[in-house]
Amino acid sequence: MAPKSRQAYLAPAIVSGWLLALAQLGYRIARHQLGANPIATALNQLGLLALVLLVASLSATPLKLTLGWTWPLRVRRTFGLVAFFTVLLHFLLYLGPDQGFDLLQVLSDIAKRPFIAVGFLALLLLVPLAWTSSKQAVQRLTFPVWQRLHRLVYVIGLLAALHFFLRVKADHTQPLIYAAVILLGFTIRLVAWRIKSRKRTRLA
């Protein structure tokens, strides 16, 4: 048995921490602790949880570029996968308990309401990424193709923040904070890429 890397426990810890957070939400629903409108509150909480997880997964590269941390890169996939399952739960809660499986209503919401369309598009775009999240998928697709596909997560992160922004009635602080974190990550990537390409041209 080859000794695993020192932070091998991190990925399972993230999955079980995520399950703990879901269990706590379930417990609060069961104990009527979510207030007068538990479905709306649970929808908000799952949506926010999904955004937090997406931002966590998107933060791995900027953290490596700025602080030199490599451990976030090892849990990036785990964050991305649990984010996908959270988005799926968020959608199923909207489809079932909230809209009573009224598919016509849901389809017309998606067509008519930009905020729902944006959220639904983010969910659709996450499907191929979750599907190709295994090491075998990377080999099958070859790394450059896989990498190009997985750059979709930048779009997904922004769509998720936009979905939140469009939903809010008056106070946009929270969605703007998440959007700012995502955009800060993009800026760091861009700066690092510029430095790298300048070095390369100097070498050539």
């Binding site: 048995m1 091998a8 426990y9 991190l10 399972p12 810890a13 993230i14 079980s16 921490g17 995520w18 399950l19 703990l20 957070a21 706590q24 939400l25 609060r28 602790q33 979510l34 207030g35 007068a36 409108n37 479905i39 709306a40 509150t41 908000n44 909480q45 799952l46 949506g47 926010l48 949880l49 937090v52 997880l53 308990p97 909230d98 809209q99 009573g100 209503q105 017309s108 919401d109 008519k112 309401r113 930009p114 905020f115 469009l166 939903r167 809010v168 009635k169 008056a170 106070d171 602080t173 929270q174």
Partner: protein
């Protein structure tokens, strides 16, 4: 010689390198459990911030003050409603009152900042008798009656609330508006000390609402001083608020300090903030969607399935005549 039990098979013997690593295994296990808990707590906390914030604890129903005379409340049969009333706890912990906080639960937690005694309401504009009124005067003039009304929020949820108060029309009659009084305005208290949410300009403060004079004098239009037989809690708009049951809830201005009579359609807060989403009339209308969600159905607080939204929130027989000849999809 006693016989020894059979030795374990050699394949079951722990490999020496693993046996040597048992401490490391325990350490990794402990780290894994600790970081699971850390991740779980962090995720739970982050995902219940802001609008996703559930109530901490329900506030108790206010007790009548020692020495104060208990409220005498009439229960006229006209305004009973054959629908289950929303529990007091839900009515007082699920509120939109941005001056006391932006989440649904915050107003109940921040309501203690609001001091409702003494309180005065200015009557201004086109009236024969401009004056300043206090709450006791209003109760002396009009008495108190209970009205069980549906309350439909523009966010597609609804409640059934037993309000205590008096008809707005009776107050208007007594104030004797002039012939130039075409609209009535309602202003909420402006005081960031008592309404800390006014420290942030998420909306233009003070909150202002308005009605056409014929809407305001309609027998259903109501000024509430209480609910469930007791004075209004701060989060529900103490000590005096407007209730217009056929309109979306945001028309019901809270903690009123001014009632004015004007000639022109007044500016109203949500209409000013987002004119394409919130009209001046704001009549409950299942056929006119909010740009971001459908108004065809609603969730009655406490119910699992959605119910169809009724035109004018179920009060069409009483109020539809007020809007005869109007295009309600334009004047929404």
């Amino acid at each position: 010689m006693p016989k020894l039990p059979p030795e374990p098979k050699s394949s079951e013997i722990t490999a020496p390198e693993l046996y040597a690593r048992r401490r490391e295994f325990l350490k990794t296990g402990a780290l894994c459990v600790a970081s699971s808990v850390g991740v779980g707590v962090a995720l739970s906390q982050l995902s219940s911030l802001g609008s996703a914030d559930p109530p901490k604890k329900p506030p108790p129903m206010p007790k009548p003050e020692a020495g104060a005379a208990p409220w005498k409340v009439e229960h006229p049969g006209r305004y009973k409603l054959d629908e289950q009333q929303t529990p007091y706890e839900d009515v007082t912990t699920y509120n939109n009152y941005y001056e006391l906080g932006l989440s649904k639960s915050e107003p109940a937690e921040q309501a203690h900042h609001l001091k409702t005694k003494p309180w005065s309401v200015r009557v201004t504009g086109q009236v024969q008798k401009p004056q300043t009124l206090d709450i006791d005067t209003l109760i002396r003039w009009f008495g108190l009656e209970e009205r069980v009304y549906r309350m439909r929020c523009v966010e597609a949820w609804s409640m059934v609330i037993p309000w205590v108060g008096f008809p707005l029309g009776e107050l208007i009659k007594r104030l004797e508006p002039t012939s130039r009084a075409k609209y009535v305005t309602f202003k909420t208290l402006l005081d960031p000390e008592q309404l800390p949410g006014q420290g942030r300009r998420v909306l233009p403060w003070p909150y202002a609402e308005g009605l056409r004079i014929d809407e305001a004098t309609h027998p259903l239009a109501f000024l509430a001083l209480g609910l469930y037989g007791a004075p209004l809690p701060g989060q529900n708009g103490a000590p005096l608020r407007l209730v217009v049951p056929w309109k979306y809830g945001f028309k019901g201005g809270k903690s009123l300090v001014e009632i004015g009579f004007v000639e022109r359609e007044p500016t109203t807060t949500w209409n000013l903030a987002a004119p394409s989403e919130y009209g001046f009339y704001a009549n409950v209308n299942p056929k006119v969607d909010h740009p971001r969600w459908s108004q065809a159905s609603e969730r009655r607080i406490g119910e699992l399935t959605r119910r169809a939204t009724l035109p004018f929130n179920g009060y069409a027989a009483e109020v539809a005549d007020l809007y005869r000849g109007m295009d309600l999809s334009r004047d929404f």
